[in-house]
């Protein structure tokens, strides 16, 4: 027993955990694994439970009226629960996860996780035409948030756990560990080089392993091997890209339009708005049962070429309407699954027509359905890299990758052109939330040092006397000046250093004596030698100015740090952003 009366093994375990808690990096890795396993198990439970519930609600050979009644009642009851108890569990889960990550320091309440899990499960089982993947992401993120806070982690540590959980959730929901990592970085974080990459990968891999342990090694869709039959098919895949892009834009605009209209309705109607979506999908499902639910069975049929052309066209249109109405009216569920459904139907339709026209030169409609899935995903969710990898992982079919890439990129650019805001950003804006977008980040990154750079107004020599230098830089307006000897940048000398030397009777001193060194060989660090390159972002320039305490930094060659290419002053940076300093730049105003 130790001093606290604990058995020795508990004391040792406690000590180990305490040491782990102190080591931030190790803790992050261990928690990534733990969260990956936990989230995977919860998501598997979510999927299985939803499947069991759906089987009870729609028994084999059930009457047709069930298809109207069940989604209506399902959405009415879950709508009330969402309104009354779980207001943050509405919708897909992806925007809500981003709110938590970027606004609330990764904070998601347990109540929201609980509500999302059960309301979504009931809603999806009742036949609502939405997907399970977005909700899985929010449930996973919520679990990470709850666990992280319960462990007493700091806000930044909790924030770092959330993306790992998102990847784990998606890996379990789609059985696509690589796409899960990419989606988390591409969409959730908006940065493919995010620092959390290691945790995200680890968590996704753990989740995938746990998924296989429980459900075995089965891809989401089983697809016959497809290949490119003839080069002319690239043209058909390009057409599919166009159709997919236009279809995606229609879907996104319809969804946002319906949602905006329902958001304008009085607040007291919020609790039964989802029932409108339930009734609408029920009426469609009464005549065309394939519209109900996420419809992965139909997708698999179509992927295997088991289609009737008229039916797939009808299903593509009905699914667009059904999903838009279900989501727009505030039901809980995601748009990943419906995107794949819509895409596969559009692909099968294009492929069906192409195959009828050029049977000897085109593959069957199933190949186009496969590519169509990725195309719609790229057009709607706007994560082209993720969509390519995801389709590959879902089907484990490599041969179709090139057509998929072509089609995806066309759909992506059409969607980009015709629908300015990606769907999740547009949804956030409808909620009055302005998240950092990929576009805004790209804009920030686009402002580079080369745009603000200018030739040095004055260059001092290491052999120059202090008095002469002071005269040269008088009224220059900068804190520091480049010192260049024998075509080599020695460094920057501050005006204050020159003034201090002059005041101390060192007017005749050489600048080299003040600098106290010659240009050192090797690779000085940024701290030792503050500098910039032409392709650095202006935000980095500001950071380095702040760190060095200088309002001007030298711009040097990447090949030779001692080769001065120009300077960047704080006023130049502000000028690029359209913020002129009062009084202007003394050098430029002259």
């Amino acid at each position: 027993m130790d001093n606290n009366g604990r058995p020795p093994w508990i004391a040792r375990l406690s000590g180990s955990l305490e040491r782990l808690r102190q080591s931030e990096d190790q803790l992050a890795l261990v928690l990534s694994v733990v969260i990956g396993a936990l989230v995977s198990l919860v998501v598997v439970a979510f999927i299985l439970l939803t499947g069991r519930l759906a089987a009870r609600m729609y028994p084999a050979g059930g009457a047709g009226w069930r298809r109207i009644l069940v989604p209506t009642l399902g959405s009415l009851s879950t709508g009330y629960l969402l309104w009354r108890y779980f207001p943050f569990a509405r919708g897909s889960g992806i925007p809500q996860t981003k709110y938590a990550l970027f606004i609330n320091d990764g904070r998601i309440r347990f109540r929201t996780v609980f509500g999302k899990f059960f309301c979504c499960s009931a809603s999806l089982a009742s036949g609502i035409s939405l997907g399970r993947e977005g909700p899985s992401v929010q449930v996973g993120a919520g679990i990470a948030s709850v666990v992280g806070r319960s462990l007493g982690l700091e806000a930044k540590q909790v924030k770092a756990l959330v993306p790992a959980a998102c990847a784990a959730a998606l890996a379990a929901a789609f059985n696509t560990p690589i796409a899960a990592v990419l989606f988390t970085l591409e969409e959730i974080m908006g940065d493919l080089h995010a620092e959390v990459l290691g945790s995200v990968v680890l968590s996704s891999a753990t989740s995938w392993m746990v998924l296989h342990l429980v459900l075995g090694d089965e891809p989401l869709f089983h697809v016959a091997g497809y290949r490119l039959v003839h080069p002319v098919e690239f043209g058909v895949y390009a057409v599919l890209g166009v159709v997919g892009g236009l279809g995606s834009v229609c879907f996104v605009k319809l969804l946002l339009g319906i949602r905006a209209r329902f958001m304008r309705l009085p607040k007291w109607t919020v609790w039964f708005q989802p029932a409108v979506g339930g009734l609408a999908v029920g009426l469609m499902g009464y005549f065309v049962p394939e519209v109900l639910g996420v419809g992965y069975n139909q997708v698999e049929k179509v992927l295997n070429g088991d289609i009737v052309l008229k039916l797939v066209v009808l299903l593509a249109v009905l699914k667009i309407v059904a999903t838009a109405v279900c989501y727009g009216t505030g039901n809980a569920g995601g748009i990943f699954g419906p995107s794949l459904f819509i895409g596969s139907m559009m692909g099968a339709a294009v492929g069906g027509v192409a195959h009828a026209l050029f049977p000897a030169h085109t593959a069957g409609p199933g190949a186009y359905a496969l590519v169509g899935m990725g195309t719609a995903f790229a057009g709607i969710v706007r994560t082209p890299m993720t969509s390519v990898i995801m389709i590959f992982e879902m089907t484990r079919d490599y041969t179709i990758i090139v057509p998929l890439m072509i089609s995806n990129m066309i759909a992506y650019f059409i969607s980009l052109k015709l629908q300015k805001e990606p769907i999740y950003e547009a949804l956030a804006q409808q909620d009055g939330v302005h998240l950092p977008t990929r576009h805004s980040r790209a804009e920030a990154e686009r402002a580079q040092v080369r745009q603000a750079m200018r030739p040095p107004p004055a260059v001092l020599s290491p052999d120059q006397r202090v008095a002469s230098a002071l005269r040269q830089v008088e009224d220059g307006g900068f804190d520091a000046w480049p010192v260049v000897g024998a075509k080599e940048l020695w460094g920057m000398i501050r005006t204050s250093e020159l003034e201090r030397a002059a005041a101390g009777g060192g007017s005749n001193k050489k600048i080299a004596d003040i600098l106290g060194h010659r240009p050192p060989a090797g690779h000085p660090t940024t701290e030792e030698f503050p500098h910039l390159h032409t392709d650095h972002s202006l935000s980095l320039a500001l950071e380095r100015m702040g760190a060095s305490g200088l309002n001007v930094l030298p711009v040097v060659s990447r090949a030779n740090l001692r080769q001065l290419m120009g300077i960047v002053a704080l006023s130049d940076v502000l000028g690029v952003y359209g913020v002129a300093r009062r009084g202007g730049d003394p050098e430029r105003s002259e």
Partner: protein, 368 residues
Amino acid sequence: MAAPSPARSFLGTMGLVFLAIAAIFAADMFLARMERAESHVEAARLFRQGRDSMLRGENAEAIERIKGAISIERGNRDYLRTLAQAQLAAGKTADAESTLEELLQSDSTDGLASLIMGRVLVKEGRFAEAISYFHRAVYGQWDAAAAANRLRARFELIDLLAQRNSKEELLAELLPVQDRASRDLKTQIRLGRLYLLAGSPPRAAVVFRGILRDSPANADVYAGLGEAEFAQSNYRTAQRDFQTALRLAPDDQATRQSLDRCNELLMLDPALRGLSREEYFRRSRKLVELTLGEASQCAGRNPSPELQGLLDQAAKALKAPVSAGRQGEAAESNLDLAERLWQARRKECAAPPATDSPLALVLARIAQ
């Protein structure tokens, strides 16, 4: 009450997390097992429906149902094989081929899949490949009743070879079957007939005689034995067998035709034992007359000088009076002339002579 130390809280929370993992894992395993069990039942139900539809000849419906079963229980080879059979029955040979390819890719020794593939390829007219798959079925693995199924596969191959008239291959397949085939009457008669098709009448005769030991009053067996004896040029024995067969089954037109042919041949054959000199001569003239008719008919108006010479010679021989003392010598000369004329006719005429006509058979026998 003092707040718990951070370390204890950390330890406790981690403990709870691991407890939750264990509990959810157990729940997941339970749900997954339940799901698998229910899926299995549902798949079996759909499969049963599909098989019933197939038995009723509703193949499109059968395909739908079985596909439904397969989408639930993907790796089930029984379902896939039955789907292929339904697709074949529905005439969707390309679909059936694709289904079977999937099966055979995962297990190339699957006997039933190979057999169905053989049938699919026969339907597509790809006989060489079909034969290869039938062989794979014969030597492949079977889930149950392997010997019986292999024999069934071999008989399907034998039937195909018989249809294709591939006599050597047919005989090669028949030989191993003889000892393993069922001893029932139908199978044995089939075997005897197949030996006849394979060009092995002695084996056919052995089989038919073997049957007669157990079923001495079977018309089909006598008819078969008659064919076997006839093929071995034992025309008198064949005549007896055909007559017996007709006694047992007087309405059998095929046997009657065989008997007529046999009788015709026996009336024509100059090599039969015990013929008088006059009869021998008469038959030799008949042969010249029939050969001349055949050759003249097929040669048309412009026969080659060689054939024309023989035709003239034959016509002259038929007209020439022969004294009783020279009938033997003249008969030999006639037979020689008939044989030469027959050879010339075979060389010059585009249409080959019917090889199983009494005339052709008699001339072939004389040539031997």
